[in-house]
Symmetry: C2
Subunit: 394 residues, 2 copies
């Protein structure tokens, strides 16, 4: 089937380890279908400036390699389209005969996709808009999970295992590790997969879904430290205290509100000030979303399948929908589906209460059941049983 | 050859990804030699408290697995021995018939090893003390490099490649990445191995060997950003400004002086304040020294060889020396040697001037020649040439 008109793909928001795999899925599935497939350079900015890459003319082997590479090979942008931008976007689409627009992003991007869809309809321009899910934060509704989340979750779970091994060997220190995730605790929760014994790190996990008083935090740390002589804390970058503030950390404004820039450092400082304990902080930060060596092949496969599904949806004549993933867990299987933009746009799926322990500082077994098939086994390190004090042995 | 008396091994200072490989080398090389081989739990603290692990009675397969695991399986300590501690250490050695002491650590630890050697001599106690080199900072004299450095260098070089790929895709942002290394720029320098094209990250690398004025830093960042619309900076945690202060960052006291805890965050804040640019900071921190997935087999092999050499030196009757590595680079080969404690104790080998470019913000080709065989190739990611603007193409 060959269709008249050009298809265009653009990336939006922060890169992930597998967004290029979705791009590869679109490229491969659309050969011999549309009149052409363009990629916009740097997301909507490349649409506005008419900077496109002719994707079907790129060498097959290069595309395959790009499909395995982290970050966005097209470039991406956080631009939120103004009314003027929407006018311009439709004009550019008309000029270049763009009839299908694939937009890869999170809930904010699906809102923009919806606006572009409406703008085209208002102008009686025949355009299909299809969303491809992408966010490490895993905060999209209607999909089991989002491509990019499993690889980043694996990075942070592995990081907590490794920092935990360091903390066990050097002891006498509190380690606060800052986890990505903005307002959603999915990635912070995933660090629980690092544990194999009851006293393995992380010893405390905090979720931005619940406010956390400094007193509770300090009491938790003191309790763990007095028992183990060590303590590793996983805290989401978006964590707020009971006054709704980030514990006095520096904040920066962003397209979706302010976010602390040095939360873990601030909590480490408070730990030393109030408890007199030696405390450090680590902030792997963006390394967690673009770390090539931790990209999971299963995550790449699903991301690619989402790209392929987007093309099939377009060829079937649908529009105004985002591709979704639906999964069985025993045994693990996935298939793709779709959902209307209006069910996902600008809506944030935070970590549900059934995945958070009543104590507020751990996950539930139900979360591990959810996440384990996505993240895989985090192999424990061999150790002497005698290193662990008796009370540490499980 | 079977010798009377017990051999004891202890770890000192921060763990590394391969310190357990040195332990494995000692365990394997010493079978059927000493009357017994003990490991001290948590370094000198375990000596003082007489807490030992009988290493020859541990299962061979477990030892092999531990040899591949990062962090210290014995536990380690930063204890600097007081005169009272030295008395106690010799008493414990007498009580347990310890005649050979293997101490694994950096330049401070070799100073302690020397003190223990002297304390035994003063008390007419026949004791051999052999040092095994270990530090990610690579700041020991008389050895080509230190086990643990290559794996951590690879972690940070890989991290800069990945953060660079993220920064290229999202652009319009300055990224400050904090690198371990205290007062020595070896690890910061190693991030240069991430580059394959002239405009790849890191765009600026700073070394603590030279003070850096805020004006110079800001001018460097502005120059890079105005040309590329992006900028990734690698800065060592021990970097000081021209007043000898860490740019207003928080410092904590340590056994070897104060060290900034949030240097990269502080520099990002100053970048935004003075240049009006969006800036972020990342601090992988301790993850860099214990990250199992980045441990190099070549680093493990050399670490193990150092442990084996320590045993051979002991059996040859030597004492008061540390094992060293000596390398040819074309083709790469290594062999072990030894050096007197007095040549390495409490002396810090910083990054030599011939490895730092006159500009103060990059390495020289000579450094790459030195480091590349240790760290290996950091594979570049496939990308569309069209993504890079023309001025970015090399």
């Amino acid at each position: 089937m060959r269709r008249e008109g050009i298809a265009l793909v653009a990336h939006s928001g922060g890169p992930t380890a597998v967004i290029n795999a979705s791009l590869l899925g679109i490229v491969e599935e659309s050969r011999d279908t549309f009149k052409g497939l363009y990629g916009a350079r740097y997301g909507l900015e490349g649409v506005l400036s008419e900077e496109f890459i002719d994707l079907h003319s790129e060498p097959t082997e290069l595309m395959r390699q790009i499909g395995n590479a982290p970050s966005s090979a097209l470039g991406t942008s956080r631009l939120a389209a103004s009314d003027q931008d929407l006018d311009r976007i439709i004009d550019v689409f008309k000029k270049h005969e763009v009839r299908v627009f694939f937009y890869t992003g999170g809930n904010g991007s699906m809102g923009t996709a919806q606006q572009i869809q409406s703008a085209a309809a208002d102008r009686k321009y025949d355009l299909q808009v299809i969303g491809v899910p992408k966010t490490i934060d895993n905060d999209l509704f209607a999909t089991d999970h989002t491509p990019g989340f499993p690889s980043t979750a694996r990075f942070f779970a592995s990081a907590l295992r490794d920092i935990g091994a360091d903390n066990l060997a050097l002891r006498n220190q509190v380690e606060i590790v800052e986890i990505l995730g903005r307002n959603a605790g999915w990635l912070a929760a995933s660090t629980a997969l690092a544990r194999h014994h009851g006293d393995d790190a992380p010893h405390l996990i905090y979720f931005p879904e619940t406010r956390l008083s400094l007193d509770t935090f300090l009491a938790d740390v003191e309790r763990v430290f007095s028992r183990l002589n060590r303590c590793v804390v996983a805290v989401c970058e978006g964590q707020l205290n009971d006054q709704g503030e980030p514990f006095g950390a520096d904040v920066r404004g962003g397209s979706r509100g302010s976010l602390a820039q040095n939360l873990a450092h601030r909590l480490a400082t408070l730990t030393t000030q109030h408890l007199g304990l030696r405390a450090r902080s680590e902030k792997p930060g963006l390394l967690g979303r673009c770390c090539g060596p931790f990209a999971l092949q299963s995550d790449r496969d699903e991301a690619k399948a989402c790209g392929q599904a987007a093309v099939r949806i377009a060829l079937a004549g649908q529009s105004g929908v985002m591709v979704t993933l639906h999964c069985d867990r025993d045994p693990y299987r996935y298939h793709t589906g779709s959902v209307s933009f209006s069910d996902v746009a600008f809506r944030e799926r935070t970590l549900p209460v059934e995945y958070r322990s009543p104590s507020g500082n751990d996950v539930t077994p139900a979360f591990v059941t959810y996440a384990a098939p996505l993240i895989g086994m985090i192999q424990p390190y061999a150790c002497f049983r005698r290193l662990l004090s008796d009370r540490n042995l499980t």
